[in-house]
């Protein structure tokens, strides 16, 4: 925790709103005349729905309507998902996990809706559950879906393949190969095979999922806390068979997302509830229900990796089995990204990776801060460390020997490494005191997590409006979820316009007015949308200069913009009176538009070159208590490369915040199932990191290697901090106690079992 950074003495507008309670979030919003919804959820992991009796619920005073799967099934396109569509608005013929929404009640208040939901009688015929990947892939296992998933699927490039429904209960698979792995293994001095497990996790955002829908004059308007309003606009339009301009999404500040508010969740259902109730409807989920909506994919990853006699990595084969849960959600993306990234930041002569997303009767897996990157980094950086130790090599030196050099392509056809990996490693080992003596029972570990950033073929548009008074309104669809997007984007616009940051505001997001983007995912806001913002601001600035040049009878090149004046030689001309004189009336706005599109390139493995790389340099010092099995993280150091830090404090905050989530996951977080039931899907039972759990020393640092593709060489870092933490801690545990933990979390039970096994 270092001291204050320059430029932080004045609160940003964003922070000011949030510390005064003025900031408005979805749960604070009231629409006149709105009714309230509650969901009835399945108590069975897998059951046929033979009938739903809503009579008793409908007879209750204050109940407006009950929506069931048959209402949903009558819609033009009643399923949704990310590129693969299989999730119904409500369970229709079958419920597929404990918590699957089966019916939705609309009533005058939440308490009435809740009571009415309890009065609904569902006739279930229990079916065999598929609680894990093994059960789902076993020969003769019941098949969860009668038909293959709809939807466009994913196009991938050279070296990659993407298949949907390759086997019963397998939603999709992604394969990524280059070189001849078999030949490389045969020629390797050593080949190691190790398996790793990653647990099922909840996002744990504090602001519950809340949606309000209202139908008016043939269109539907939604207020929603989400990360991708334009994606949702498309989903709702498709589900209801509406043109895009008949769907309007408002997205206020979001109280934490981490991917859990990405993509379609219950938005179409709330629209359907409002349509049937003929009134605006608000559906506010509880914290428990958020956990039952989407999770991070648990997985097992088996890695076979070779090394030559000089300690150079040769080839890797990866088998990644992701537990996708009951519905597709973002599983296709997670499969692709985990399979693609499994090599980590190293030079491999051959790669042969297979990632499969397997359907089970559990809460669906979705995006969670890194689309499979955390899972891959956990397995890869654990095995790299194990290999170094087995070879008697220093884990730092082994990594440096094999790390990609700056500019070296990650894979054939893809972009080059745009961070100095060795410099980051040095920064971590220095802060960690890598070579200092250690007390007994203590150990140190490091890791370099890695993911690609910015999205694949991503795009964004932006509008910058500059008033005659020299104030700017920036309009883009990056959702403020705590990452500091509003501040950073306003700063980029202010830099380009040459005006003070206090003169720039970020407009509320409304799909009727906001310029679209692909969503607040993949650490892309300041890079992808940032480029569009800078272009829009530059265009607005050009208009200002052209106007001034016209008014003064000179060329724009003869003028210098300073503050809100133009200067020609030693004559200053304030712009506002000049603009008012010319336009009269209420004044004028200079409206600039900008756009960015990362092109598709079929010769790149993912059909587009990766925009930038997100390494996460992590280091941990731990104490392992041999009597209790408790792991105490004494020191945690984590850094990332922002290219250029537009907001240094915000960058540090992103890195530390992500690292704390990963620390929590490494030490104790896990959504646990007993039989068919998630037993800790509630805030009291789902343990998350609190202040007393913090390591004594917890240090985030931001590097600026100056080679990002965004404005002024910046690049995104929002997901970085998670990637290497679990592996760094596992590596430190081995250093401390000579035991290797290969499954998360590192509970005292697992530590004691490993110590016993070691003897």
């Amino acid at each position: 925790m270092d001291g204050m950074h320059p430029g932080t003495t004045l609160p940003s507008r964003d922070a000011w709103e949030k510390v005064t309670g003025e900031a408005v979030y979805m749960p604070d919003l009231v629409i006149p005349g709105m009714l309230h919804g509650k969901l009835l959820r399945s108590p069975h992991a897998h059951a046929r729905i033979r009938g739903i009796d809503t009579a008793a619920a409908l007879a209750m005073p204050g109940v407006a309507c009950v929506v069931t799967g048959s209402d949903a099934a009558a819609l033009p396109a009643p399923v949704y998902g990310v590129v693969l569509w299989d999730q119904p608005l409500l369970a229709t013929d079958r419920a597929r996990y404990v918590g699957d929404p089966v019916a939705a009640v609309v009533a005058v208040d939440e308490a009435t809706a809740f009571r009415a939901a309890q009065a609904i009688r569902v006739d279930y015929e229990p079916l065999p559950p598929l609680m894990d990947v093994d059960a789902a892939m076993a020969p003769g296992a019941p098949v969860l879906f009668d038909e293959p998933a709809a939807g466009p699927g994913l196009s991938v490039g050279v070296g990659s393949r993407f298949l949907r429904d390759p086997a019963p209960n397998v939603l999709c698979e992604y394969g990524f190969t280059y070189g001849d792995a078999e030949a490389e293994f045969a020629a390797s001095a050593h080949v190691f095979t190790d398996s790793f497990a990653f647990s099922k996790l909840a996002h744990g955002f504090l602001e519950p999922l809340v949606n309000i829908a209202r139908w008016q004059a043939g269109r539907v308007e939604l207020w929603s806390n989400n990360q991708d309003p334009f994606v949702l606009r498309g989903d709702v339009a498709r589900v209801f068979g509406l043109p895009l301009h008949a769907v309007r999404f408002h997205t206020p500040l979001v109280g934490g997302g981490f991917g859990g508010k990405s993509y379609c969740k219950v938005e179409p259902l709330v629209a359907l509830m409002a349509r049937k109730a003929r009134a605006p409807v608000r559906l506010a989920m509880s914290f428990d229900e958020s956990i039952l909506t989407t999770t991070k994919h648990p997985c097992t990853i088996t890695l076979t990796s070779g090394v030559d006699a000089k300690g150079r990595l040769t080839a890797r084969r990866a088998d990644i089995l992701l537990e996708a849960g009951a519905y597709s959600d973002a599983s296709a993306m997670v499969a692709v990204k985990s399979g693609f990234r499994i090599g980590g930041p190293y030079r491999w002569r051959a790669m042969d990776s297979l990632a499969r997303a397997v359907r089970t009767t559990t809460v669906p897996g979705g995006s969670f801060r890194g689309f499979g990157g955390t899972q891959s980094s956990w397995a890869s950086e654990s095995q790299i460390d194990m290999m170094a130790r087995r070879l008697g090599a220093c884990p730092v030196a082994f990594r440096k020997l094999n790390a990609l050099d700056p500019g070296e392509p990650f894979a054939p056809g893809d972009s080059g490494m745009d961070s100095d990996l060795a410099a980051g490693l040095d920064a971590v080992t220095t802060r960690l005191g890598w070579t200092a003596p250690l007390d007994a029972g203590r150990g140190r570990g490091i890791a370099i997590g890695l993911k690609d950033g910015g999205g694949t073929g991503n795009h964004a548009q932006a509008i910058v409006r500059v008033t005659h008074g020299g104030e700017a309104i920036v309009s883009a669809a990056v959702v403020e979820i705590g990452q500091g997007a509003r501040t950073a984007i306003c700063r980029l616009a202010a830099e380009t316009l040459g005006i003070d940051e206090s003169k720039v505001r970020y407009a509320p997001i409304d799909t009727d007015h906001t310029a679209p983007d692909n969503g607040t995912h993949v650490s892309c806001g300041t890079t992808v949308t940032g480029l569009a913002i800078v272009e829009a601001a530059a265009e607005a600035r050009r208009q200002v200069m052209d106007f001034a040049a016209g008014a003064l009878g000179c060329t724009p090149e003869a003028l210098v913009l300073e503050g809100w004046s133009v200067r020609r030689g030693n004559e200053a001309h304030p712009l506002e009176p000049m603009i008012r004189r010319h336009y009269g009336g209420m004044g004028w706005e200079f409206i600039g538009r900008g756009a960015f599109k990362d092109p598709y390139i079929a010769s790149a493995p993912l059909n587009a070159k990766n925009m930038f790389w997100i390494p996460c340099w992590s280091g941990a010092e731990v104490d392992v208590d041999r009597e209790t099995g408790k792991v105490t993280v004494l020191r945690l150091v984590v850094g990332a490369d922002a290219g250029r830090a537009v907001d240094h404090v915000a960058c540090i905050g992103q890195i530390e915040g992500a690292a704390a989530q990963a620390l929590s996951q490494a030490l104790f977080e896990e959504l646990r199932y007993e039989g068919e039931v998630p037993v800790n899907a509630a805030p009291l039972d789902y343990r998350m990191l609190q202040t007393p759990d913090l390591p004594a020393v917890f240090e985030g640092f931001v590097m600026e290697h100056g080679t990002g593709p965004g404005p002024g060489a910046l690049k995104g870092i929002g997901e970085a901090g998670m990637l290497g933490i679990a592996a760094a801690i596992a590596n430190a545990i081995e250093d401390a106690a000579g035991i290797r933990l290969t499954s998360l979390p590192f509970s005292p039970e697992k530590v004691l079992a490993a110590l016993d096994a070691k003897g």
Partner: protein, 155 residues
Amino acid sequence: MQITLTVNGLARTLEIAPQAVLADVLRDGLGLTGCKIGCDQAVCGACTVLANGLPLTGCSTFAFAVNGATITTIEGLAEESLHPVQQAFATHGAVQCGYCSAGMILSTVALLARNPDPDEPTIRAWLGGNLCRCTGYARIIEAVQAAAAAMRVAA
């Protein structure tokens, strides 16, 4: 039933249901939506408000149980300018999504009222009842220390 509260300096007489919790009365009855409801089970601390200077979780406190109390919510903290704790949170990176901020800030105000110079273990122990999923807490602890220092100088 009827209760009286002094909320952010204003005397209020309120007609409430016996089962009404303080957070709902503040949010729905008085429009003080700065009191956030996160977990709704007294775990996350987002709904923390001060009753007679002491922090309590509004989501799980019956409104009748605080009849007659002086309540401070985040909306009542700033006067001419930001309260030093607000100022420190806003300028030390202690705020990301902001959903926990009101509760964190009010908990901190209560801590500094009883201990103007808390050491780091004391701060960590005190804030254990306030969850933040965004920041990783380090900047929050730094902000608490900065606010304490600023308030000691001003006192």
